[in-house]
């Protein structure tokens, strides 16, 4: 089983749909501990991605993902812009020139994206950020593939770990980003960035499920 270019394009469209559906939800999460714009920004960003996809649809997966990253960088703003922009650009660089991806390629790609996010944002697991979703999820995907699990199953495990990571942010006290100014008051709220990261990984799994 592989991730084809058609799958990648479908994944990006799914992300756009899911983020549009969750625009208010993400913004409300952000209002509780941030500045009430995460859903609005992510939706605007993926609308920009959708408007630029037609220009690169016939290019390789790397180019498609790099273009996605640049579109996010120039349209999302806030911290989400550089972080998600870097995430997709690094993923694109990791799979430059490819027309389809093996399960291992998918893991390498996601891990490269995560590396970029951690360098740019200087956040670690436990800081109450998107890293709390991405890091355990991508590690779980890698472990499942190494253990010989089928790609489908490995993706399910990745999404389960992503969900757990997302929920793990609820009791945490934020140490990065605007929520960190709340101190202890940030505890008890789910991190909006960790939530959008979950939606993006879940969209990848759902895209492949729909494909079967």
């Amino acid at each position: 089983m592989t991730l084809t270019k058609t799958d990648v394009l479908a994944w990006l469209r799914n992300i756009a749909t899911v983020l549009a559906e969750n625009k208010t939800y993400l913004t409300e999460l952000d209002a509780a501990i941030g500045d009430a714009d995460h859903g609005i920004n992510m939706d605007r960003g993926f609308q920009r991605v959708m408007s630029q996809l037609p220009t690169v649809e016939d290019k390789d997966i790397g180019t498609i993902l790099k273009t996605t990253g640049m579109a996010l960088l120039s349209s999302v703003g806030g911290a989400g812009g550089p972080l998600y922009g870097t995430f997709f650009m690094r993923m694109g660089m990791a799979v430059a020139g490819k027309e389809e991806l093996s399960p291992e390629d998918v893991h390498t790609m996601l891990a490269a994206g995560l590396d970029g996010v951690m360098q740019r944002g200087k956040a670690e697991v436990g800081d109450k950020t998107m890293v709390d979703t991405l890091a355990p999820a991508i590690r779980t995907l890698g472990n499942a593939l190494t253990a010989g699990h089928h790609f489908d199953d490995a993706l399910d495990r990745m999404v389960a770990a992503a969900e757990e990571g997302m929920k793990s942010t609820i009791p945490l006290v934020a140490r990065k980003g605007r929520a960190s100014y709340l101190g202890d008051r940030s505890a008890g709220h789910q991190d909006p960035g960790a939530t959008s990261s979950y939606l993006i990984l879940a969209a990848l799994r759902d895209t492949l499920k729909a494909d079967e």
Binding site: D35, A36, D37, L73, S74, G77, R120, Y181
Partner: protein, 368 residues
């Protein structure tokens, strides 16, 4: 939501379009990507001073573009950092060859976007430096947070550094001066009401009729504590003492090393205020508080400064760094040395700050 707007998605653009029409002698506005720039840019041999940040803090930053202050400003969506493509295109437009100083308020989004912009500008051969403003004493520690936020000192730094740039100071000297202004400035704000972000349509936070939030940020971020409403004198005392009695504040910031082309960590310490210090006292409206109330605050601030042995040598009272229609006030005290006083007094002609510049007609001549 009750606002004087047409369509929510056009708020930033239509406001900038109006500003460009109102101040065509001083500024131009470029769209896609969006930035405000000085009408006669680039100015030969002059380092360009650029700032930017989310919209909703008007007149900052676009209102400070003009002679003796900023060369360009990059407005983001309301309360959202602008993006690197805006900052890069602004730098390309106003760079005379002498380089670009980005003045960046310390918010996670602003810092990351300006860092990416600096990397892009440097890769094109534009000499560039980013200096952070982090002056909000409401944030006590930098270890477990993103550090002190950039608030009132930003306005003062843009004026002082802008004047020095106008005199022909080089990029390194301006970066040093900007850092010096930052470590000598401290601010704290409070809110009586929330603000409403147009795209959200409802208040960012709920505050009871008899409550206030002390230590609020300029995007409605919660502050140090919520408490029962007090008198203007008591509020002024709380803010002023938090600033004046703040101890030395040390943190590590990232600055761009142009020679190596990499980011380096720089440790900075804000020295505490001492009796005998000369200060600039800045009383700022969060947007919805009238000037009459600002003077009630200034009256008490003046008394406290005298009692603490601080000499107010300059002041600024008005709405300069706002939070949409929020009611509230922020106080900034900036320790001034003689050079900073001289640069503060230097002529400035921008949409929102203007003195010593002679008549508009005379000044607009060379711009034509």
């Amino acid at each position: 939501m009750k606002k004087l707007i047409n369509k929510v998605e056009n708020v930033v653009r239509e406001s900038l379009e109006g500003m460009a029409l109102a101040h065509s002698d001083l500024i131009r506005v470029h769209f896609d990507p969006t930035f405000v720039y000085r009408a006669n840019a680039p100015v030969a041999n002059k380092v360009a001073v650029i700032s930017g940040g989310g919209s909703g803090h008007e007149p900052m930053h676009g209102g400070f573009v003009g002679v003796g202050m900023l060369d360009a400003a990059c407005p983001g969506e309301v309360f959202t950092s602008p993006t690197p493509d805006q900052m890069l295109e602004a730098a390309r437009t106003v760079n005379s060859g002498a380089g670009v100083l980005y003045i960046v308020k310390n918010y996670t989004g602003d810092v990351m976007n300006f860092e990416m912009a600096a990397e892009l500008a440097a890769s094109e051969g534009i000499p560039v430096q980013n200096i952070l403003i982090d002056d909000d004493v409401a944030v006590k520690d930098s270890l477990y947070t993103a550090g002190r936020r950039g608030v009132g000192t930003t306005v003062l730094a843009e004026k002082i550094v802008g004047a020095a740039a106008e005199e022909g100071r080089d990029l390194k000297a301006l970066a040093d001066l900007c850092r010096r202004v930052n470590i000598n400035g401290r601010s704290m704000g409070m809110a009586l009401t929330s603000c409403t972000v147009p795209a959200k349509g409802s208040p960012t936070f709920e505050l009871g009729d008899d409550e206030m939030e002390i230590g609020i940020g300029i995007h409605g971020e919660p502050g140090r504590e919520r408490m029962p409403l007090k008198s203007a004198d008591e509020i002024t005392e709380m803010l002023a003492l938090a600033i004046i009695e703040d101890e030395a504040y040390t943190r590590t910031v990232r600055e761009f090393d142009m020679e190596k082309g990499t980011w380096i960590e720089v440790e900075l310490t804000d020295p505490p205020f001492q009796p005998g210090d000369n200060v600039l006292a800045f009383v700022n409206s969060m947007g919805g508080t009238p000037v009459s109330e600002l003077y009630i605050v200034y009256r008490k601030l003046h008394e406290i400064c005298e009692k603490k042995g601080l000499r107010i040598v300059r002041n600024l009272v008005g709405a300069y760094i706002t939070s949409l229609e929020m009611q509230g006030v922020s106080i900034t005290l900036l320790r001034m040395d003689d050079e900073m006083i001289r640069l503060w007094d230097a002529p400035v002609n921008t949409p929102a700050l203007r003195w010593g510049a002679g008549s508009t007609a005379a000044l607009s001549q060379p711009l034509a």
